[in-house]
Amino acid sequence: MITQMHIKGLMFDPYNNAYIVVLRDEEESEMLPIWVGKSEAGAISMAMENVTPPRPMTHDFMKSFLDAYNAKVISVVITDLSEHTYFAKIHLMYEDSEYTVDARPSDAIALALRCNAPVFANDTVITKQSSEELEQWLENLKPEDFGKLDS
């Protein structure tokens, strides 16, 4: 089973010097945080804020590449979590065939936002994340740890 997720925000994790992309389901009953690096967070934040940079950023170029061949991003799915690394799949439609491409969730999300494609997560991934440790960690976050993008 997969659940559609919405990208709610990005926040800085001062303990790990990384960023967290926060995904929530439609009812906002489930939450999926994904730790990403600084440049990956930048690529996601630019798309969330609808910033048009003077030159195409990496994922804008990625989209240009797909657009050049009329390949459409149908959806992306966060599929697996192992050793704290998430796996994602990008589903492409090209010339009446569907292709599934392995990707990091950060790339998949940065691309999905630019292509207006839905983001899904495997239910197993969401379950794995609802650990006490994480909730505690989030509770301890101070308001100033939240970026302006967080809603």
């Binding site: 440049s39 690529a43 950023m57 170029f61 590449f65 061949y69």
Partner: protein, 166 residues
């Protein structure tokens, strides 16, 4: 986007390779040093961001990452779509910003895609395709003595751990 193939002499292409990546001390930038592929000696530096420089360095060092990086993903898309990445060209410079084009080929049609040089170079190294600079860009680059400047940078032994002199 166009399918034009550079043909006139003004646009003739000179092949370069990535020679090395320099870290600029105290700034979040990297310098990608391209060197002329043929026997002529010339270097062509391009300033890029730290993340972009690191993406190029990973490919230059043929570092295997546990997960595909962004340009590995683009290459993967190309493979799935049966698109050949033929070459990249640093084709223009405006207000000290270089513009690159990625030339892709599929089913007898060549297309060019606009890109930043850092993305184009990062992809070229992963797709094992040649890197070109147009004569026009080479002629219009900054007139300061870049080689002398680079020699100075090299003499500072960038990349080596800083040693306190006693």
């Amino acid at each position: 986007m166009s399918t034009a193939n550079p043909s006139n002499a003004h646009d003739s292409l000179i092949e370069y390779r990535v020679d090395r990546i320099l870290e600029e001390a105290n700034t979040d930038t990297r310098i990608v040093v391209l060197a002329r592929q043929d026997s002529a000696i010339d270097t062509f530096p391009i300033w890029v961001g730290a993340a972009e420089g690191n993406a190029i360095k990973l490919a230059l060092d043929a570092t295997l990452t546990p997960r595909p990086m962004s340009h590995d993903l683009i290459r993967s898309f190309a493979e799935h779509l049966n698109v050949i990445i033929q070459r990249i060209v640093i084709a223009d410079v405006k207000s000290s910003t270089y513009y690159a084009t990625v030339h892709v080929y599929n089913k007898g049609v060549e297309r060019t895609i606009d890109a930043r040089p850092s993305d184009a170079i990062s992809l070229a190294l992963r797709a094992h395709c040649p890197i070109y600079i147009t004569q026009d860009v080479l002629a219009r680059r900054s007139s300061t003595n870049l080689d002398a400047w680079l020699a100075k940078i090299d003499s500072k032994d960038i990349g080596a751990p800083e040693v306190q002199e006693t």
